[in-house]
Symmetry: C2
Subunit: 427 residues, 2 copies
């Protein structure tokens, strides 16, 4: 079936404006490890997808899914051991106080649970979030994303400019001054809730500010923001849907960013493609949530979720993927930093582990974001067989986020193609 | 591991008050067809679970899951044929105007999409729902369920008493008078939105009022309510998460209840245990939704969802399950009606296809709901190896809702056990 026919059917059946990548979309039919293949047999190296963290069509994950689905797949109002074993193992990977879990199916549902939990436990309503984050697509969770555009419509949300060192709120400030300036915004948001008689519930941020564009966060901001929030009676929620499961070179983004959350949301790579998501939190918070909501999720906390989630943890641990992320991520980033010296447009190279961002600019001095420049590179990389994407609050950030089994050889192949494209454009 | 140890671990890891069935919960380890097995090897006939509609551990569904997960499981921003084939087939089973789909992972997410769609398309906010329904667990969707208890807290929700013939709002009224009386409540709700300057968006109901207790709905109510809602500029949303996929003896509950919805939500049996849910609607509604929200769901519209969803449709059609539902459902219901003549407590036997309800009462005249009576029967049935549940707006309804592959022999086995229990209690 031709691409044009597929596009027409897609519009007729799924509607206009359903999101699609690339100016000439790819028609993918098969995946294996870090590779995807299109209908013509063309191979693409996947440097975009974080969900298949242990590789596309991972045999251990597929086998776990098949075995469990062929044995038992039922809801959680009967007793079953596997979900308890999985919860024990998962909470064991987190800070000790985060010892209870609630499971669901998507990152959006995890965000919903976190919001309901924060509000149930504190009795508050007001939530602080970043002005460029994304936490999901439900009516309530969307409010966190659209708050910047519609401040009047969201009396219970306050946004702060996301903390960053590259285009900071005060270009003349030192990093330590920036920390104070951004923390001041947290104080102001809390005071503003107070002024409007909106009891404070907490702050909700991605541990690595992935959607914001993976900025370097002024040192100490996250841990001190968490303290300020707790002192004001709120809870600090870390969104680890993108940041978690070894992505940053630590198990959790909050370890990389150096803070202790009260509630953690997880999703995407958790089931390597099976819809599994969830929340871990301090016991009192989980109990308050369960008491207040009577939460039940038909497909969650199931033997199937447990088996697949466990297989993902087995793969991550047995294949020592954390070490791979640190080694290959460091290697890739260092190579990009060398290229940065050659190309003006690579304004900033940053990130952690295998979450790497290149901030595309028209020139280094103005730091003017160059969306078209990065889009051209993303499309050219695709033509050469490398799937990447653009992201960030300004849409000008090259996002490199391959499955975590990405090797040094894979990085070399990417770097060769990337260098060729850069030379072709700028050489 | 003993039941007590499991219960303790469960509370420690998943928190207090996580929902659990039966006064002595069962520890299920395996499922096959209509049977579940506990850790001691005891066999239970499953007369509760609607998700595994084509039987527990259905081999065709498991094979489809394994094959697709081993081939490709990726998000929908690349082109893929399978989700288009599945959408074509699924919309082909619906009324012709419901020709576009949006996919997600859970019933809650489908309800979120329906609400966002209704509001995006109409520009309205106000939603009418029943006073005893359940449509999901997110912040916004929960409002539909808690509106009855917290009318002040939900300015955009109006509830109406759910239409029924057994305990109607006017005991002296004929069925046709009841239709008018309940419709009057719809008119009043619309007028009340108008009075409060809340633009009207639509009405959201389960097509069979399953959570309300599967009442006999006064003839013509649903189709005329849909007309009234559309005349007032709203859309009529049918929740088919429980009612759909042959459960009622028709493909969709809205066919059984005789009305035409503008938006339909689906879930539970759709993936026979894989988290698949979605919405079908008129093209303009889907386009308005996509334009307004930019909706994207990482795990949805995937090749895996398409393959599993297709396998479920294959099983339903190839095994002629609709015919089975009509035949066995009718047989079971007729037998229960015969038993009703013997037992005062079986106040009302009702339902459609393999969704059957028995309204438990202390006596026929007062129709006083008997929650304890039904709970005793549910627990005794469990001891005898039959899994059922209680439900309904008053918690006094015996809910019989087996996988759709339930046979006449299965019905006979259940009826024998049920009769024994009834004789033992009342004989």
């Amino acid at each position: 079936m031709s691409r044009q026919t597929l596009l027409e059917r897609r519009e007729r059946l799924l509607g206009q404006r359903m999101p699609l990548f690339y100016s000439e979309p790819v028609h993918i039919v098969r995946g294996e490890g870090i590779y995807l293949y299109d209908a013509s047999g063309k191979q693409y190296m996947d440097m975009y997808n974080n969900v298949p963290c242990v590789g596309h069509a991972n045999p251990r994950v597929v086998a776990a899914m098949q075995t469990q689905a062929g044995t038992l797949n039922v809801h959680s109002r009967y007793l079953h051991e596997a979900i308890l074993d999985y919860t024990e193992r998962l909470t064991g990977l987190h800070a000790e106080c985060l010892s209870r879990a609630v499971f669901c199916c998507t990152g959006t549902e995890a965000s919903e649970i976190a919001l309901l939990m924060a509000r149930a436990a504190t009795g508050g309503r007001g939530i602080i979030c970043s002005d460029s984050g994304y936490h999901g697509n439900s009516t309530e969770v969307r409010r966190l994303s659209v708050a910047r555009r519609d401040p009047q419509g969201n009396p219970e949300i306050r946004t702060i400019p996301y903390p960053q060192c590259y285009r900071p709120i005060d270009a003349a400030a030192s990093e330590s001054e920036l920390t104070e300036l951004y923390l001041e915004r947290v104080h102001e948001a809390i005071a503003d809730f107070d002024r409007h008689d909106i009891p404070f519930a907490g702050m909700f941020v991605c541990s690595l500010l992935v959607n914001e564009g993976l900025p370097d966060i002024p040192a100490g901001f996250m841990s001190r923001a968490a303290e300020i929030v707790r002192e004001a009676g709120g809870v600090f929620i870390a969104d680890e849907v993108q940041a978690g499961f070894c992505r940053s070179g630590r198990w959790w983004g909050y370890q990389t960013s150096g803070f202790e959350p009260d509630i953690v949301t997880m999703g995407k790579p958790m089931g390597a493609g099976m819809p599994i998501a969830g929340v871990v939190a301090r016991p009192g918070l989980v109990d308050a949530f369960r008491e207040k909501t009577g939460y039940f999720n038909t497909f969650a906390s199931s033997p199937l979720q447990a088996a697949v989630g466990m297989a993902v943890l087995d793969e991550l641990e047995d294949r020592e993927i954390l070490d791979n992320v640190v080694a290959v991520g460091g290697y890739l980033r260092a190579a990009l930093e060398r290229l940065q010296a050659e190309y003006e447009c690579m304004g900033d190279v940053r990130g952690h582990g295998l979450a790497i961002a290149v901030d595309w600019v028209s020139d280094r001095e103005s730091k003017k974001p160059d969306r078209r420049g990065v889009a051209e590179v993303v499309n050219r990389l695709k033509d050469k067989g490398f799937l990447t994407g653009s992201a960030g609050s300004l849409g000008n950030v090259l996002k490199l986020r391959p499955p975590l089994v990405f090797s040094k050889d894979n990085a070399d192949a990417f770097l060769a193609a990337f260098s060729e494209i850069m030379q072709d454009i700028h050489g």
